[in-house]
């Protein structure tokens, strides 16, 4: 089967997950049931098959162009979500993960696959750099979501009249801890992605740093996260400010990301 057929089935399974989570949220029942988890695992397996098939079809690692980027990013987000969920059982995360995964796979389904055959893309740096970067993005997305959930729950608690989110969202402390942990993991991946990106650039063009706008954005996001992590470790700085900075850091990451995907279509070294 061609990769886009797998991707279509993947979309169907993620759609089931997304719909189910939102409906459960409306009735305020347990967000994730064994049905959702089964649908997600099936979708994820098909998604993996789609990516591996796409790798063969493209002749290079499928992380170039909007089609591949959207699909691979959704894959990374679902993977990181499943790992976070197994460890923490935080279901509210599904409220953001399912719609986003669904939207990304939908975008992948609607956009044509890029047909670039630049020899640089056959470098083994591409799979390493892209996987690190995408896992980093996914972890930072989880951190961002936990930050948003923190602010929502804080608002519910300050407001003193509980509405839907009060029941669904975990405690402030938990949002804070999981958010902090995700930042650390995401930051680690981001750092490694920047390092491998530089090495790749050096290998391909002989320079580590081209001064490109997206490189600057990546560095700014990286610095923001350094500040956040240091502030947390040194001063026990957490809660609201950490949540806000986690959200800001992710916004910077998204900016880099959109720039890379839409403006240039290819990771910097590959141009």
């Amino acid at each position: 089967m061609a990769s886009h057929v797998y991707l279509l089935f993947t979309l169907a399974f993620y759609a089931v997950g997304a719909l189910h989570v939102l409906l459960q949220a409306l009735t305020r029942r347990k967000l994730l049931t064994s049905w959702t988890v089964t649908a997600t695992l099936a979708g994820f397996a098909l998604h993996t098959a789609a990516l591996s098939q796409r790798w063969t079809e493209a002749g290079h690692f499928p992380a170039v162009g909007l089609h591949d980027v959207a699909s691979f990013l959704a894959w990374a987000i679902v993977l990181v979500f499943l790992m976070t969920y197994t460890r923490t059982r935080v279901e509210a995360l599904g409220l953001a993960v399912y719609p986003v995964a669904f939207a990304l796979v939908l975008i992948a389904n609607l956009t044509p696959a890029s047909a670039s055959d630049d020899p640089i893309l056959r470098s083994y740096f591409l799979p390493i750099h892209a996987t690190l970067a995408f896992l980093g993005y996914a972890a930072l997305f989880v951190a961002f979501t936990m930050g948003v959930l923190y602010l929502i729950q804080e608002r519910e608690l300050k407001g003193r009249s509980p509405r839907a989110f009060y029941y669904i969202v975990p405690s402030l402390e938990r949002c804070d801890t999981i958010g902090g942990r995700s930042v650390e993991v995401g930051f680690g991946f981001l750092t490694l992605a920047i390092v491998t990106g530089m090495l790749w650039s050096h290998r391909a063009r002989g320079v580590y740093w081209t001064g490109d706008a997206k490189e600057w954005t990546a560095i700014i996001a990286w610095v923001l996260y350094v500040v956040l992590i240091l502030a947390r470790q040194r001063t026990g700085w957490g809660g609201r400010r950490a949540a806000l900075l986690g959200i800001a850091g992710f916004a910077a990451v998204v900016l880099t990301f959109v720039w890379v995907t839409v403006a240039s279509g290819v990771a910097s070294a590959a141009r």
Binding site: S171, E173, G236, G238
Partner: protein, 420 residues
């Protein structure tokens, strides 16, 4: 057949229920008398402030009437005065009611946890008094299991609906784990004590701030396993606290906004950690303006009540899920009950024996050739007599077993023996 006679908060006013309630110490006597005077083989009495119910194993609908008579006689109340408040259920309806009561679906506050314990105790009392047989025991096991399932698989028991539990629930929503959190009690009132007890049970540490009488603070601190502190150290203690419960009888504000701001500033590295202020005093102890301070969550008594009401609405949404679950359990139980019914066994046994008799007669006729009407009648009489005599003692035995209540193993054995 399960027979039930009772009255509850839905059918009767409190004075009527009170006049018919069974006290703990008279329960054994009541159970024994209920069995004798009510003419039931098994007896159980559930008597709480919201309901008085007599459960028995009887033979027919008449037993309900006798139980009602016993209920009136025991309490010396005229029957026609009580009759309008009493409901009588038998068979499947009684079973369904028993399941629903245990699952707290019939409770005033749906999902309240006490009823399960009360039902358990009622069965236990019947067992001790020796009035619990296999029928009520089966009802006990299945209805309690269904009640537990309803609690764990649906949200009817979730979300606190009493003020002191709401305080604990909110603390959990803010801090997650309560282990090693510092709870500061300002004033040593009953309500503060109740909420503090819940928190301490979850692992929090208590500090009790003394008022004019330091002895009371000392006593409460000892009871909570915490330490007392003089009122003058309010600001220092506030800086160390995660949760503050204030319930003094003071006429004015005790904890001012400045105190809270000071405490936040003094926390240093823990500056951004939340501070949960619970004001259960009327008039209020804590300056309402304190809630404007960042990271501070202030709840007064009205706020806690509002949360409790919202929680109750959430529970009611879960009720339909719980009702479905309980109904499925009830049907399963009724099916199982039916499988223990011996009447079909007896009918089937008769039918088979007669079938064999008929076919053997047919064979005999073929071998003997034409018979005179007298011979035919004699053959008929002889075979029928054999069948009846053979079936007599098993029939008596099976009926006997049925009279003693459910005997799942014996019924299964009988079915096996007879090839049914």
């Amino acid at each position: 057949m399960i027979v039930l006679v009772g009255l509850s908060h839905r059918t009767s006013p409190l004075p009527v229920r009170e006049s018919l309630a069974f006290s703990q110490d008279r329960l054994p006597e009541a159970l024994r008398r209920m069995r004798q005077e009510g003419g039931v083989a098994e007896a159980m009495i559930l008597s709480t402030c919201n309901r008085v119910e007599l459960y028995g194993r009887g033979e027919d609908d008449e037993d309900g009437g006798r139980l009602e008579e016993f209920l009136c006689a025991f309490h010396g109340r005229p029957r026609d005065e009580i009759a309008p408040y009493v409901y009588r259920l038998t068979g499947a309806d009684a079973v369904r009611h028993a399941f629903r009561v245990a699952a707290s679906l019939e409770s005033m506050v749906i999902g309240e946890p006490q009823i399960l314990g009360q039902v358990k105790d009622a069965y236990q009392a019947a067992e001790t008094a020796g009035t619990l047989g296999s029928a009520l025991n089966a009802l006990r096991n299945r209805s309690l299991a269904a009640a537990k399932r309803a609690r764990t698989e649906t949200g009817i028991g979730e979300n606190a609906v009493s003020v002191s539990y709401v305080a604990v629930e909110l603390a959990r929503k803010i801090f997650g784990q309560l282990r090693d959190r510092n709870v500061l009690l300002v004033g040593a009132g009953k309500m503060s004590e109740l909420a503090a007890r819940h928190l301490v049970r979850s692992g929090a540490r208590a500090t009790v701030l003394g008022g004019r009488t330091f002895e009371r603070a000392e006593a409460l601190a000892a009871a909570l396993g915490g330490r007392p502190a003089p009122f003058e150290s309010l600001r220092a203690e506030l800086a160390a606290a995660d949760i503050v419960i204030s319930g003094t009888g003071a006429p004015g504000i005790v904890v001012h906004r400045e105190d809270v701001e000071h405490a936040r500033a003094a926390r240093g590295g823990r500056h951004q950690r939340p501070l949960f202020l619970i004001d259960i005093a009327v008039p209020r102890d804590i300056d309402p303006a304190a809630r404007k301070v960042g990271g501070v969550f202030l709840y007064d008594l009205d706020d806690l009540k509002a949360v409790a009401e919202a929680n109750l609405r959430e529970r009611q949404k879960e009720a339909s899920a719980a009702e479905g679950l309980v109904e499925r359990e009830v049907r399963e139980f009724l099916e199982w009950q039916k499988s223990l019914d011996v009447v079909p066994i007896l009918v089937e046994l008769r039918r088979r024996a007669d079938q064999i008799r008929q076919s053997e007669m047919e064979r005999a006729r073929r071998r003997l050739g034409p018979l005179t009407p007298e011979q035919e009648a004699a053959l008929e009489a002889a075979t029928t007599a054999i069948v009846n005599k053979l079936l007599h003692s098993p029939t008596v035995l099976i009926k006997e077993i049925a009279r003693n209540g459910y005997a799942a193993e014996q019924v299964a054995l009988i079915r096996k023996l007879l090839g049914l």
